[in-house]
Amino acid sequence: MQTKLSPQHIREILKEVKDPEIPTISIVDLGIVSDIRVEDDTVFVELTPTFAGCPALKIMENLVKFRLLEEGIEHYEVRTSFDKQWNSDMISEEGLLALKKHGLAPPVRHCGNLDLTVLEHTPCPYCGSENTELRNPFGPTLCRSIHYCNNCKQAFEGFKPVD
């Protein structure tokens, strides 16, 4: 039986914390929960930023704290660290589907060696066509790029692959 304070249990709890800018994906599936430790009765959670300038960082730290408090966990430490560096391959399979559900083209898997020319033919999240164009490597948030689908004739956003 899992105790309430096992790292596995905490991970399950944190699956209910969503990215404030992409509410279909949990922070666990986004891959930013880099460490969960339980020492005595204190829970330590470490987050690693997707982008260094992401304005949602502090908000996500607070969302984690609120969620732990809701579970009656009063002793906790939540911090952001670069000890483990996020890259887009850390998004889970479930996370990729969640991004698509939000209308974002999921990032391609790069296995640590990303050639940015893949952005030129990012599959359209609406029709699946690869007959697409990169319009801008920068978008409405730091983690998004802007594309156009020549097949279904509409603009779409992608979640940037990062290595």
Binding site: A52, G53, F82, Q85, N136, L142
Partner: protein, 257 residues
């Protein structure tokens, strides 16, 4: 930082200050394109890069804080121009798009290479940050190179405008690599391979790209790096930028945001 002796800490601080100040100031300049970009996409691009750079500078200031300096906000918002260690290239006003693009190309190619080199730093905190930033800066250098190629090979006017900026600011670009007082310590301790190595790598990367864009690099006889920024000697443009950047903070420095 057990493995650092005092001379290592001094050298690491000098390196961190110049990197963080470069990013804060170029970030602020990039943000000045918000609402003014020649096309909407460029408006978004420069604004996004501004957010990246300022975010990146904050984490470098946080490393300085770990080494005993004041907290990031105090360091960023309470110093005067002569206390900044940014290179002069980053402090110039945004000018026209041709200047901002050329500066963006010069600077971000140097950043890409600097952080790539720092991934192997013996200073673990800095190596971790470098591994993280490289993926972000890759987008910045790609953006710069895409436009330099398009406009360099565009028409006579676009090529001529970029060539003029290249000629005018080449020596300022070389000023990025102004050697510091602790280069040998950084190199011997494995913290950083040094500014001379960075400049060499930068030249090997940018010259072929500029030539591919039909742009000519000035003859080496005309190379005369513009130094001074790293030791607090700045153009008249930096202090007004700092005054504007810190205007709200200065109203009530003790305010809790």
């Amino acid at each position: 930082m057990d493995f650092f002796n005092e001379s290592h800490v001094r050298a690491a601080k000098e390196l961190l200050y110049k990197m963080a100040d470069d990013q804060l100031i170029i970030g602020h300049r990039n943000s000045e394109w918000t609402g003014l970009g020649p096309i909407l996409e460029e408006d978004i691009a420069f604004s996004s890069m501004a957010q990246d750079k300022i975010g990146q500078s904050e984490h470098l200031y946080a490393l300085l804080h770990e080494l005993g300096e004041s907290d990031p906000d105090t360091v960023a918002f309470t110093r005067n121009a002569h206390q900044f260690h940014c290179c002069q290239l980053v402090e110039y006003p945004i000018g026209e798009y041709d200047f901002s693009l050329m500066r963006h190309f010069f600077f971000d190619m140097a950043e890409l290479i600097r952080f790539d080199m720092l991934r192997n730093s013996s200073y673990e905190g800095l190596a971790n940050i470098a591994k993280k930033y490289k993926g972000e800066i890759k987008y910045h250098s790609m953006h710069a190179n895409t436009w330099v190629q398009q406009l360099g090979k565009g028409n006579e006017e676009s090529n001529g405008r970029l060539q003029l900026q290249l000629d005018t600011y080449w020596n300022h670009a070389l000023g990025i690599f102004e050697p510091g007082p602790h280069e040998n310590i950084l190199i011997d301790a494995g913290i950083f391979e040094g500014e001379a190595a960075l400049q060499k790598n930068w030249l090997e990367a940018v010259i072929p790209l500029l030539e591919k864009a039909d742009l000519q690099v000035p003859d080496t006889s005309k190379w005369s790096p513009v130094y001074g920024g790293r030791t607090g000697i700045h153009t008249a443009y930096l202090q007004p930028l700092l005054d504007e950047m810190t205007e709200v903070y200065s109203i009530d420095p003790s305010a809790d945001w």
